[in-house]
């Protein structure tokens, strides 16, 4: 068995005998846009709108551009950096710092990160005002290139309800409704002077586009209110998409977006769906 050597001695005693295969020269002449790791689970801290930090259990991908000459990237360095960044709260503005460090650690021209996590927001029911945490699926993606140009995309999924305008119009009573999901990929302004954008505000704006938001904890007074609100506010997925687009267009920090609404129809086993893209030009893969 190998005698364990301490980390600080790695470069002295162990490395010489262990060939750096990744560092060999490649002759195929193909530079790769991404070489890295996927599905690394890591505890991370996200900054909330109220300035507090929320611990999340993130699923992270990190990669760098690989020049045509390099055979492979050094994947352990991504985990080392990620592990060290556990204690540093991150949000969109911090990701360029993360990626500059990645680029340097890997001696690369470009770097990419995607952090997927569940983000909890305390949400009060509409009448009884009882509050409980509700989780939203988020992904924060960023890239940096050789010119230090950064791109950041915040993706989030907001569950809500839609009530069918057609069903309401043609039926003597009732109207079919269902759970739906609004999913937005928001390209964020990465210039110095932009304000941080908050998941809390985005969730509120997007769920306002639906027939009615969903809530984690409701009493009968809330259920009556929600039922009647949805009936008063019938919307196709196309309607939700359009109202969500109107909201997103007014978000200062958003320079482009991709939006989709999917309703898990209660009259079908398949889903109704609407999608739209505006100025969503990005090198960040989905």
């Amino acid at each position: 068995m190998i005698t364990p050597c301490k980390p600080e001695n790695l470069s002295d005693s162990c490395k010489p005998v262990l060939l750096d295969v990744q560092g060999l020269v490649d002759t195929r002449g193909i530079a790769l846009q991404n070489a890295g790791i996927k599905n690394v689970m890591m505890p991370m801290q996200i900054v909330q709108k109220n300035a507090a930090k929320q611990w999340v259990q993130a699923c992270v991908s990190i990669s760098v551009g690989l020049s045509a000459e390099e055979k492979g990237t050094h994947m352990s360095r991504f985990v080392t950096q990620l592990s060290q960044w556990q204690q540093r709260p991150v949000f969109s503005l911090a990701l360029s710092d993360f990626l500059r460090e990645t680029r340097q650690r890997l001696s690369s021209q470009s770097a990419y990160i995607a952090i997927a996590f569940q983000y909890f927001i305390d949400k009060a029911s509409p009448v009884s005002q009882l509050s409980s945490p509700m989780a939203y699926s988020c992904v924060l993606k960023a890239s940096i290139d050789s010119n230090d140009l950064c791109q950041t995309v915040l993706s989030l999924a907001v569950p809500c309800a839609t009530l069918c305008p057609c069903s309401k119009a043609i039926s003597d009573y009732g109207a079919h409704n269902q759970r739906a999901e609004i999913r937005a990929d928001l390209l964020l302004d990465s210039t110095e002077n932009h304000h941080e954008i908050w998941i809390e505000d985005l969730v509120e704006g997007l769920e306002n586009a639906s027939s009615c938001p969903v809530y984690p904890l409701i009493k009968r007074v809330d259920e009556k209110f929600i039922t009647e609100k949805a009936y008063d506010n019938p919307k196709f997925v196309e309607d939700v998409a359009r109202d969500a687009i109107l909201f997103i267009r007014h978000c200062d920090a958003v320079t482009g977006f991709q939006l989709e609404v999917e309703a898990f129809e209660s009259i079908h086993a398949h889903n109704a769906w609407a999608r739209h893209t505006e100025n969503f030009i990005t090198n960040l893969s989905c």
Copy 2:
């Protein structure tokens, strides 16, 4: 490179030089209930109620009991058998034949199979009578033991709609409703004289327990009918479960069951759920 030998010569020329490690003796003294393979994709034929055969793209697990003396099972034999059975239509009654063959091929005391597939049924809308295929997730599981005792479980998932009785009762108008799913695991009578049980009949009986079935293809006349039917027929998941239980208890071929109903609530991001079990004593793992 090895010179390829033809299959029929395997036992003569190749086997002698390649040690049968699986066939070695194990000394830990532990017999295992299942040793086999999972997630084998295979085209298979399922017998429909109308006697026609439906090709499905199945995801199959097969295993045998492993005696304490055997080191391992011979996994390629499962694929060989499965591959040969592609042309033989299967349904619950045929699985005991399959497993007797498995038991023999593997020289084992017991054998198990689970076949998961999507099963299509042509379904007509309630008013316009327009028909289109609708898929139901099914799993057919069977076991055979050393006494030739067989067990068969048919699992199926039936999408449907539920309309909330509370929401209807307390609201001035409307009522929240949503897509739901009825999932049943049915232990089938494996005695000689039982009649085959048909997925077509089970689907119809289970969806009748809901506020309203869902349909693949509906026109406005259907949508009006469905909307009003659901409103006239409000049910909690508990109600659906109880009515489904009443149906299942009257299925002659079913000797025990596990049933659950899950509604993807349009007022919450979480689901309402009810579950019940009766005489569901089986060695078939979930």
Copy 3:
């Protein structure tokens, strides 16, 4: 629009006008084993072996038994309780307290909970001793019945590697190996005098049953060590299962178990699989 009433006034002013439909009498004569909610996301605290508390983002199901007379259960009460328990660290011993409270809140005879979460353990690489968090999928399930009898099941999934003994034996060099997963459902001794069982110890014991553990952060010295250790330690899924069984049998706090090993074979697109059950008699659904 309804004038919001404050939560403390709910019972006085609002309830009288809103019919309690769930509280109506049911006449079908069918008691249900479970009525409740599924997939509630909630931040929770898990007690670590070192006595510190770890925040996890749990996915929770809670239910109660429903007597034949009751039409439905009151689902908001589950969320209220869960929301209030965020601040109380839980582990297996605490779940009976949780369920006694659930039973009382819902006026039920029995109660059930399942808490699924990712649990992080700092794990050092075998030679360089570099440490980084690694996530393990866990589910903690518990039930309480009318006689105050409790059952607790801890489920966990441990990724690891297997190296094929057959491939090693018959090949002139090399041996196929792959990522695998050991999944155990452990029925815990629920008597007063049992010691807490720690996920940290279970993970270590189970991964010792594999050809080699997997690590979150490794350097070349570690990679050499891991490669050679796996080659020195070839195991079929059947071998891993048997060695894991030997380990579990020696865990004092475990009174029964279900164990499976699944290897994502690098020579097939399907998986090798072994499974075994001992004294695993439980009313906790999978």
Copy 4:
């Protein structure tokens, strides 16, 4: 209850009384790129390289562009068309016909379809030449715009094995290897004179880029061959990506592509990953 009216009479007797809400005018001034349905399950026929037709169980999305004036699309028409196309074998060349019909049925300027399916190919083991079906995940996507310009993307996922060159180089014996997946999104030449591209050929070309293909059915002679071949042919995900790129660049019918390779590392619980894009400019969403 409504008296069912026959389909052919729908326009005469039923429509007048049931308002066409989707057909109302929208005033928000927002045209949507996609309005349609998702996750429709449907049996479909795919043309094989050998000219035979293979029945698959497809999961389909269809949508059209929605002009700023229209409130909503008529979703049942998608299902009607899809249902009627069951009997017509499809492949990339046929999709433009499908979409022209969709565009007309929905009176839209543009139309989109995505058909996800498992495609079976009989695959023989390398030495014993035993054959069994193996499934490949495929998605066929197409769009048509107002200028009758078509785009087609064929996506496929090819499981394979990678053996780590670093592990082989630094270890005294053995080398870690694992199952991996090559995923390609191929933008197809949609001009009249292009030849059909066959999944069979793409699978073969892509798996040749790996350390070794995986097989559905192998005997010991095959296992020895595969083990040694992978050891003789060590590749990082970066190597597989580059060799796959060289193959794709030589496919005449492919005008652009997105490629990724993900290896389910046997030394980590996370994955190694490489990705590259060339001339992949498309309006087809992922």
